[in-house]
């Protein structure tokens, strides 16, 4: 096992443990637990069996497993940023509503 594999494995295990802890603390939903578990398990499997990832990569027409992981990671990151932006926008509007109501009550 190379150093990068060990690092990826340790990081994925650490991140997965955080997800489980947050689920136990009722900070995230069952759906979120499932989604994040899937992501980190995929990374764990990729770290342990890097050769097997070639098989899945080829299905998508990508040559290397690592490339597939990078493409997937970037796509996921963009999607998550978008979701966070939507959530932030909603919070901003909620905040404005509160500030407005307070101002009108003067």
């Amino acid at each position: 096992m190379s150093i990068i594999q060990i690092l990826a494995l340790v990081f994925a295990l650490f991140a997965w443990s955080r997800v489980i802890l947050r689920f136990r603390g009722r900070e995230i939903s069952m759906g979120e637990l499932f989604f994040w578990s899937l992501c980190w398990i995929a990374l764990i499997l990729l770290a342990i069996f890097p050769q097997q990832s070639f098989y899945f990569a080829n299905i998508f027409g990508i040559q290397r497993g690592v490339d597939m992981f990078v493409y997937g990671g970037i796509t996921l990151a963009f999607y998550l940023v978008f979701r966070m932006y939507v959530r932030m926008e909603k919070m901003e509007q909620g905040l404005t509503k509160i500030v407005r109501e307070l101002a009108k009550k003067k």
């Binding site: 901003e92 509007q93 905040l95 404005t96 500030v99 407005r100 101002a103 009108k104 003067k106």
Partner: protein, 221 residues
């Protein structure tokens, strides 16, 4: 009765004179929304005779105008006018935007600096024309001036206004809303006093922000 709504953020230096100037021209019903200013904007506005509403934290010009308009609607106005806090509008132009709304020719009247004799500096003109082109591209509405803060609303129109763009994107959102709701509008010539307005790089940064705001609104629809 005309109610004038002014959104003000850190305008202590100018807001008092703007309110007094309006009162001198016969506009006594003035609402200043102090948008979380760090200076004495609210005090200056109040001392000059305006009804002052205070945002506890800064929420942007769009949010402040919405607050002021919602408050003005409760005062049974004939017309609600939005007016800038930095002294760039002339009180004598209010009559021009109020008239078509009062006469029932339109529900909204937009002030336009490009109708009539224009005194707009070249760099500003380019920026504003770009904004006009974007509004046309995004919403299919051909305005002669898409970002003029001097407007008049009928109370019925004002009541249905619900701005989501808290910051500078509100101007284009109003145009989008007018098109969607098929609200009859007119544009009337007004003059902008350029020597009093703060200009420079700020207006370019603001333009970029407005653009992103428009793109975001399109994406999130």
């Amino acid at each position: 009765m005309v109610w004038v709504v002014i959104a003000a953020f850190n305008e202590a230096a100018t807001i008092g004179n703007v309110v007094k100037d309006l009162a001198d021209h016969g506009y006594k019903n003035i609402i200043v929304v102090d948008d979380g200013s760090e200076d004495a904007t609210a005090k200056a506005a109040q001392e000059a005779g305006a009804v002052t509403l205070k945002h506890n934290i800064n929420r942007g010009q769009g949010a402040s105008l919405q607050t002021g308009i919602e408050y003005a609607v409760t005062k049974n106005p004939d017309v609600i006018v939005t007016f800038d806090a930095d002294g760039q509008h002339r009180p004598e132009d209010i009559q021009a935007v109020v008239k078509p709304v009062k006469e029932g020719k339109a529900k909204i009247a937009f002030g336009s600096r490009f109708l009539g004799k224009s005194n707009v500096p070249l760099h500003r003109k380019l920026l504003l024309k770009g904004g006009i082109a974007l509004v046309w591209l995004f919403y299919g509405v051909k305005m002669t001036d898409a970002h003029n803060g001097l407007r008049a609303f009928s109370p019925e129109a004002a009541e249905t206004l619900n701005l989501h763009s808290d910051r500078m994107g509100h101007a284009s959102e109003i145009i989008e809303w007018v098109r969607k709701e098929k609200i009859p509008y007119v544009e009337v010539p007004v003059v902008i006093k350029y020597h009093t307005t703060r200009q420079g790089h700020g207006s370019y940064i603001q333009a970029v922000r407005v653009f992103f705001d428009m793109v975001w609104r399109k994406l999130s629809q």
